[in-house]
Symmetry: C2
Subunit: 471 residues, 2 copies
């Protein structure tokens, strides 16, 4: 499989093409230090076998914020160094921190904008990034990733909505000026061989925002300035965030937030045209920097298809690896059938929006981390499944399975018309019902359900039931 | 060319695959009758040779509105019958009206929602559509198109944001209930052989809206209910419209409006994945109904590519045919080089948003219609072009061309890096400067300019200039 071919980026060789993109956890304290929960989360990812784990965004500066890791001073290095060493010990993958600068926001709804920054404030930003990147080297990280995506400072400079009238706004080249200064400063701080990545939006997904047409140029300019890989996100902006009284504006709550983490209603690989467009432009211009695709990529088949088509060089999976950090090693062992599969309910996203610690909806209730079991005994059950239709929907009901360690959940599989079965959802225990509300009259729907345990062992499939809705 | 192959839809044979999608003109009065301006606009489209001209949305009911055609009573038929006959006389194409039901909106910002409608009000809607469709038959139109896109009544029922709790909301099948009732009523009114089309959104492009995954099912359900072709739009919703004090909310002013009519910053064919996804699903389910693609499709090459890839059966061009209604006959004659090309400045869209009559930015100032000239003498000039760079942009300046009938504008062509030249913009006279603000340091940009006259005759190309921006 292409997915398990190594890739070298300057001094760093990734054992495979799977990436854990930076994902907010809210597990750290406001002090910015690594704690046990953070450590457990990332050790789990490392153990799972991903080729590259990007640690969640950590601040390069001292601004107040909610729970957030920091790399803004030497005092934060010990915990990170220790975490990095532990991850290297337990897993085959490489580890890089994502480093971030953000502007101020207030509960009143006020937020600082790039237009508000003085030149002195702007000039401090490359220095802060460079100092944090240099700490990244000293921590033993294999590279460093610069956060230029979503609603944060560098993304807001890149934005087509950057209204500055000086050298840092207006034309595309001027919107790029600060991000390029950051890259140049970071390169000077880390030396020639240290990998520098950038995560940025392939499309802003807001009114008047940039699209892949400019993202191609942004990628090219950043790579020419010294970046070694580009990781492509989308949306996640303040401009369309939904205000909530008494809370600071949160940039993943609007349409652009949906596009950043496409949920159930989106097709698989919804954003792949962004890395595809960017990679194609880079290659035409003779630039070989690897491109990371993300956005609802869940199966080995889709990942292989994207790599095979040349739409990306690396596959980022955030929510799928949150649901099951062992995805890489299970798939490498030919056991995708043992993967606990993300159902894109976006409960993780909703928890983040409510400023709660980020956990997976599928994990056992109250768990702070994904379960870790080596059990090989699958759940047992009587395979009974019943379907009924009412109010334009299909309702399924099945009997509960049993397991030596505990049943974890049920995958729902569906075939529409004469098509093949696809797994459409997952339901955690103890629920044994499912309602399919996206069914239409005139098509036959067939379903089966399959139980899985904490290790991902699957039960036999239930009997297949067929349903037709009436209007 | 595939573009010029005929296509039969029930009793209607289109001579080619080019469609003028329904486009607001604001040329009618509030009385709803056809006037001379409306007549001129559509006669011009008919003469240009498009295979299908869809007349702008006309109301099936009597609600007050701004300038809008109506088909809500027999009194409106004479003007439409006459227009239809005229279009049949002057052009090869077929003609269908788009018929619409909309909810009430007020300058206060209030708008009626689908949740506000009583069952009696809902039941009146299929009757109104059926009566209007039956008038369409009597007017001599070749078919009828039902408006189920954007922010209007049927689209709002289809929406994932439809919050009705009765038979007309909730599940997808119930969201489809009224649209299906409309199709069934219209089919009963027009008979078996009369073509019925539907225009609807392939993606709502708003937070929580549906995506192509449900649009596939919507298309299937509507076709099974009696629809003969589906025309795929995107966005254009109230939910993200930008409020303006003292004006009713207008549904094309937000991000979803950008997606509906993608402007300069968007890649060509930005929405083609929507008809592609829908058509692919229909064909898998054994449904042969033609699918119309729209959204920044401008060149014969792209149109052929879309048809050749099977992503659509028909190509809708709104803004390109507004700019030059003769696009079809010029291209059929092998003279794309004589087409006045839309530059996607979206001045037409901005005029509509300001409730002004819709005209093309490229037309001679004050014109109500596209120019119509058979002149064959191209503009003459000295081919001088100069480039300068400052503030991260490239500025071009050229000497004015002259022409026997009048120079109309200049096409701007650009080659990025070593790539081939692409035409990137058009500048109407008397301007002879252009500023390229999407340029970056590190790439070479080459440009030339070409003048065109009212008939689209091109001058010789200017000399090529090369520029490199500094940051």
């Amino acid at each position: 499989m292409k997915l398990f071919q190594p890739l070298t980026i300057r001094s760093m060789t990734l054992p495979n093409r799977l990436v854990v993109p930076a994902m907010v956890t809210r597990l750290s304290g406001e002090d910015g230090f690594v704690n046990n929960d953070i450590r457990d989360r990332y050790m789990r990812f490392a153990k799972g076998g991903a080729g590259l784990v990007v640690l969640e965004a950590m601040a390069v500066h001292g601004s107040r914020s909610g729970p957030l890791l920091r790399l803004s001073g030497d005092e934060f290095m010990a915990g990170l160094r220790d975490l990095c060493a532990g991850m290297h010990d337990i897993g085959p993958g490489r580890v890089v921190p994502q480093i971030i600068h953000f502007l101020k926001i207030a509960r009143s709804g006020w937020r600082q904008k790039v237009e508000d920054l003085s030149i002195a404030e702007i000039h401090a930003i490359p220095h802060a990034y460079a100092a944090a990147a240099e700490r990244s080297v000293r921590c033993g990280f294999d590279g460093v990733e610069l956060h230029m995506a979503h609603a944060y400072t560098l993304s807001s400079f890149l934005s087509r909505l950057n209204r500055r009238r000086d050298d840092y706004g207006g034309t595309l080249e001027r919107r790029l000026r600060l991000p390029v200064e950051v890259v140049v400063a970071v390169r000077a701080a880390v030396g020639d061989q240290y990998p520098i990545g950038v995560r940025f939006d392939g499309e802003e997904c807001i009114k008047g925002g940039y699209t892949v047409a400019e993202a191609q140029l942004i990628a090219y300019r950043l790579v020419r300035a010294g970046v070694d890989y580009v990781s492509i996100s989308a949306g996640g902006k303040f401009e369309d965030a939904v205000p909530r009284a008494g809370e600071p504006l949160y940039p993943y709550t609007g349409y652009s937030g949906d596009r950043c983490m496409p949920g159930k209603s989106w097709p698989d690989g919804a954003n792949r045209y962004l890395p595809a467009g960017i990679k194609s432009f880079l290659r035409k211009q003779g630039v070989a920097a690897p491109v990371i695709a993300t956005g609802k990529i869940n199966t080995p088949e889709l990942a292989e298809e994207i790599l095979g088509a040349g739409d990306a060089d690396l596959i980022g999976m955030a929510r799928p690896l949150l649901a099951d950090p062992d995805w890489p090693r299970k798939v490498q062992a030919g056991r995708f059938d043992k993967v606990i599969r993300c159902c894109y309910a976006n409960v993780c996203k909703a928890r983040d929006e409510r400023f709660q610690t980020v956990a997976c909806f599928l994990w056992p209730k109250g768990s702070k981390q994904a379960p870790d079991s080596e059990d090989i005994v699958p759940p047992q059950w009587d395979r009974q499944l019943a379907a009924s239709t009412q109010q334009g929907r299909v309702s399924l009901k099945w009997s509960a399975a049993t397991d030596n360690e505990g049943v974890y959940g049920y995958d729902i599989w569906r075939a529409v018309g004469g098509e093949k079965f696809e797994r459409i959802d997952a339901i955690p225990v103890p629920v044994t019902t499912y309602h399919d509300t996206a069914t239409i009259k005139g098509l036959a729907y067939r379903y089966f359900v399959q139980a899985y345990d904490l290790a991902g062992n699957r039960s036999e499939r239930s009997f297949v039931v067929e349903a037709r809705v009436e209007s």
